[in-house]
Amino acid sequence: MPESAVKTHTIAVLVDDEAGVLARVIGLFSGRGYNIESLTVAQVDRQQKLSRITIVTSGTLMVIEQIKAQLARLVPVHKVADLTTLGPSVARELALIKVVGTGDRRVEALRIADIFRARAVDSTNESFVFEIVGATDKLDAFIGLMEPLGLADVSRTGVVAIARGPNPL
C-alpha cells in the first residue's frame, strides 16, 4: 500500500479520568486538523481512576503516526494503542433506532430486526425502538433497511474496541 493512502484506524487511549482530559484530546484533533469519525469515552478503572477513549480516525500512515505521538505526549495519557495495526481486534457499536409505522411496514421492520438480532426495547401501536449491537457496517446496513420502513430517530454510541487474545492494553 502506498504511504499516501488514507486508511481508517481505531486507536485506544488510556487516560487519567480528570476534568478536561476529553477536551485535550478533542482539541488536539480539531487544532491539528485530524479527522474524528467516532469517539467514545468512559471510566474503565475506578481504583486507578482511568478512562478509556476509543477513537476512529483516518489518515495517511504519517498522519496516523503523528496522531499517536501527539496523543502520547499529553500529560494525562498513559497509553496509546493502534488496534488496527496491533493485530486482530473486536470492534462493536450499539445503536437505539426508532421506527414509526403501521401495517405491513411494521411487520417488515420486525422481521428484519429479527434477522439482524436487534431487540425491540420499546413498543407502541405505531412505533418500535430497536437495540442493535455489532460492527459499524452491520449497524449501517440495518439503519439503511429501516429507512423506507419509517426510520424516525437514531442514537449511536460510536465504536468501542479491544484487542483479541489474552493480553491487556
Partner: protein, 586 residues
C-alpha cells in the same frame, strides 16, 4: 514555616522556594491578592513587577533561556491570564520551561461569568504543554511540584496552574517535592541502542554529511552542546544551525557554515540540499528551514535526534529516528563511533568541503556600505565587534533586524541568544532582555530591535527604571515594518500597505521620560562612538540607530521555493517570480 495551619497561598510560596525559585515576574490583581500578601511577608523570592502580563511571560522566558532554569510568572485572573496567552504560546513554540500561576475567581463562582473570570484552562490548553485548575487544597502542593517537573522534563514548555481565590485563602496541606513526575509522563531519555548503532554506521558511509542542529541542543544543556561540538570536531562534518540553535555550536568555528533556512546562508542551504547524510539534532524540520518540502534534501538519508516523538516524521520522513535527550544520545553516538573506530571517507569529505567553499565564496552576506547612511548589517557587524569580547547576551524583536542579528552576530556559547523563533512575537525582545538582566545583573544585555517591534512592549521601559536594569535597546530604525515592506516589495508589486512607521516617538526623549539614556545616531562616523557610549553608560540606554530604509534582508528562500532556488540579492528577484503555491505561504 510550620507545615500545619498553612493556607493555600503559603503552600504556593513554600513550594516555589522548595523548587529553587528565587525570582518571579508578575502583576497583581484581585484574585491573586492572597499570594501577593504572602510575597510581601517573605524575602526568599524576589518579585519583578512588569507593566503588562505579556512582558512577565517574555521576561520569564529570557530568564529561563539564559539560565536553563524554569521561569516563573504570576498573574491575576481574567485579563491577567488572557494577556499572558501570547507569551505562553511563544514559550510553547520555542520549548521554554515556564510555570505560570494565574489567579481565578473562587470555585463557587466558576462558570457564573463573575468579574474578571475567564476559562483560563480552556483558553490556554492549546498554548501550554499542560495546565491545571486546582479545585481542592489537598492537591495544591502536589500540582505545583508536578508542574515544575512537567515544565522542565522531556521537551520543555510552559505549564499553567489556575488558582481559585478560595483555594489560596483556605487551608492546604504541604507536601515536599518528589523526584518523580506523574506516572503517565515519563519522557524517553535514551535512544534505542540499535538505532544509535545504525546511525553511527550510516554516518560512517557518508560522502557529503551535514549536521543540522537546533534549539533542542541548547535546551539539553551546556554539557550536551559541548559533547555535540566535540563530535562534530572529531568527525570534521560541516554544521549548520537553526535560528534557535545559534550558539549550540561555536559560530566562529570553521566547521560552522552558518544559519540554515529562509534567511540562512547560501552555503548552509545548498549543503542541506546536496548532502547525502543529514544528522538533525534537536531541530524539527520547520517550514522556515525546509523550504518546499518535496524538494527538501532530495538525495539524503536522515538521522533525527529529538526528545519529542511527535517531532519525528512530522514534516519530513526520516530514516533513523533517535528519540531521547540530545546529551544522552550524542554521548551514546560518540561512544559507538569510537568503539567501531569509524572513519569518514577523507577524500570524499575533502571534496564536500571544496564544494562548500565554492558556495561560501559567493559571500552571501555581502552588503555595500558606502557613504554616511548606515547599512543595518554594518550596524550589527560593528555591534558584534565591539561587544563580542564581553559577557554579552543578545535578545531580539521580530523582523529584518532579527534576521540580520542572526546572520551577523556570532555566538560562541549556548544560552546567549534569545529570540522568538516559532511564534515570531514582536515585542519579545525588551521584556526578554529584562529577564536576562535579572538573571545576570553584571552582564551586557542588548535587545536588537526594530522601531516597530519595540513599541509593542515599550511600557517595560518603566520596569527597567524601577529595577535599575542597564538593558541596552539597540533599535535599527528604518521607519518601516521592514520584513512586511520587504515581502510587499518582492511579492505585492511594491504596494506598501500600512507598513510605514508613521508618527514615531522621539526615542531620545522617550528614554529621557523613562529615566533611561537616549542616543541617536544617523551617520556612519558616529556609529562606533554611540555603541561604545551605550556600553559604558551603567543605565538603560536606547540607541535610535537610523539605518538605510530600503535595505532588504538577503539571502532569501522565497516562500514555496527550494534551498537551491535561494535569492542572493536584489539582482536575483526578477529572474524568479514567486510561485502561486508560494504566495499563500507565510
Amino acid at each position: 514555616m510550620a507545615d500545619q495551619g498553612m493556607n493555600g497561598a503559603q503552600v504556593v510560596l513554600k513550594a516555589l522556594v522548595d523548587q529553587g525559585v528565587t525570582v518571579i515576574f508578575g502583576y497583581p490583581g484581585g484574585a491573586v491578592l492572597p499570594l501577593y500578601d504572602e510575597l510581601f511577608k517573605q524575602n526568599q523570592i524576589r518579585h519583578i513587577l512588569v507593566r503588562h502580563e505579556q512582558a512577565a511571560v517574555h521576561a520569564a522566558e529570557g530568564y529561563a533561556r539564559s539560565t536553563g532554569k524554569v521561569g516563573v510568572v504570576l498573574v491575576t485572573s481574567g485579563p491577567g491570564a488572557t494577556n499572558a496567552v501570547t507569551g505562553l504560546l511563544d514559550a510553547l513554540c520555542d520549548s521554554v520551561p515556564l510555570v505560570c500561576l494565574t489567579g481565578q475567581v473562587p470555585t463557587h463562582l466558576i462558570g457564573n461569568d463573575a468579574f474578571q473570570e475567564a476559562d483560563t484552562t480552556g483558553i490556554t490548553r492549546p498554548c501550554t504543554k499542560h495546565n491545571y485548575l486546582v479545585k481542592d487544597g489537598a492537591k495544591l502542593a502536589g500540582v505545583l511540584h508536578e508542574a515544575f517537573y512537567v515544565a522542565a522534563h522531556g521537551r520543555p514548555g510552559p505549564v499553567v496552574i489556575d488558582l481559585p481565590k478560595d483555594i489560596l485563602v483556605g487551608p492546604a496541606p504541604y507536601v515536599a517535592p518528589s523526584r518523580s513526575g506523574p506516572k503517565s509522563y515519563r519522557p524517553q531519555m535514551e535512544a534505542e541502542p540499535a538505532g544509535v548503532a545504525a546511525a553511527a554506521a550510516l554516518i560512517a558511509t557518508a560522502k557529503r554529511p551535514l549536521f543540522y542542529i537546533g534549539g533542542g541542543v541548547v535546551n539539553s544543556g551546556p554539557v550536551a552542546c559541548a559533547a555535540l561540538t566535540a563530535l562534530i570536531r572529531r568527525t570534521g562534518i560541516p554544521c549548520t544551525q537553526t535560528l534557535m540553535g545559534l550558539g549550540a555550536f561555536p559560530g566562529s568555528d570553521p566547521l560552522s557554515i552558518g544559519m540554515v533556512g529562509m534567511h540562512g546562508t547560501f552555503e548552509a542551504n545548498w549543503a542541506m540540499h546536496d548532502c547525502d547524510v543529514m544528522i538533525c539534532v534537536g531541530a524539527r524540520f520547520d517550514d522556515r528551514v525546509t523550504g518546499r518540502l518535496n524538494a527538501f534534501a532530495p538525495n539524503s538519508k536522515k538521522v533525527h535526534i529529538d526528545i519529542d516523538p511527535s517531532s519525528i516524521n512530522k514534516n519530513v520522513a526520516v530514516d533513523i529516528p533517535l528519540v531521547g535527550d540530545v546529551g544522552t544520545v550524542v554521548a551514546a553516538l560518540t561512544k559507538q563511533w569510537q568503539a567501531k573506530s569509524y572513519q569518514l571517507d577523507q577524500a570524499a569529505l575533502a571534496d564536500w568541503w571544496a564544494r562548500i567553499r565554492t558556495w561560501r565564496a559567493k559571500d552571501c552576506l555581502h552588503f555595500s556600505q558606502s557613504g554616511q547612511v548606515i547599512k543595518p548589517q554594518y550596524a550589527i557587524e560593528r555591534l558584534y565587534q565591539l561587544t563580542k569580547d564581553r559577557d554579552t547576551y543578545i535578545t531580539t524583536e521580530v523582523g529584518q533586524h532579527q534576521m540580520w542579528a542572526a546572520q551577523f552576530y556570532k555566538f560562541e556559547q549556548p544560552n546567549r541568544w534569545m529570540t522568538s523563533g516559532g511564534l515570531g512575537t514582536m515585542g519579545y525582545g525588551l521584556p526578554a532582555a529584562m529577564g536576562v538582566q535579572i538573571a545576570h545583573p553584571d552582564a551586557l544585555v542588548i535587545d536588537i530591535a526594530g522601531e516597530a517591534s519595540i513599541q509593542m512592549n515599550i511600557q517595560e521601559l518603566s520596569t527597567l527604571g524601577q529595577y535599575r536594569l542597564p538593558v541596552k535597546l539597540f533599535i535599527l530604525n528604518n521607519q518601516y515594518m521592514g520584513m512586511v515592506r520587504q515581502w510587499q516589495e518582492l511579492m505585492h508589486g511594491g504596494r506598501y500597505s500600512e507598513s510605514y512607521s508613521d508618527s514615531l516617538p522621539d526615542f531620545v526623549k522617550l528614554a529621557d521620560a523613562y529615566g533611561a539614556v537616549g542616543l541617536k545616531v544617523d551617520k556612519l562616523d558616529d556609529l562606533d562612538s554611540a555603541i561604545t557610549e551605550m556600553i559604558s553608560v551603567p543605565r538603560a540606554v536606547i540607541v535610535d540607530c537610523r539605518v538605510d530604509a530600503k535595505e532588504n534582508c538577503f539571502p532569501m528562500i522565497p516562500s514555496g521555493a527550494a534551498h537551491n532556488e535561494m535569492l542572493l540579492g536584489p539582482g536575483d528577484e526578477a529572474e524568479q517570480p514567486m510561485s502561486d503555491d508560494g504566495m499563500v505561504l507565510v
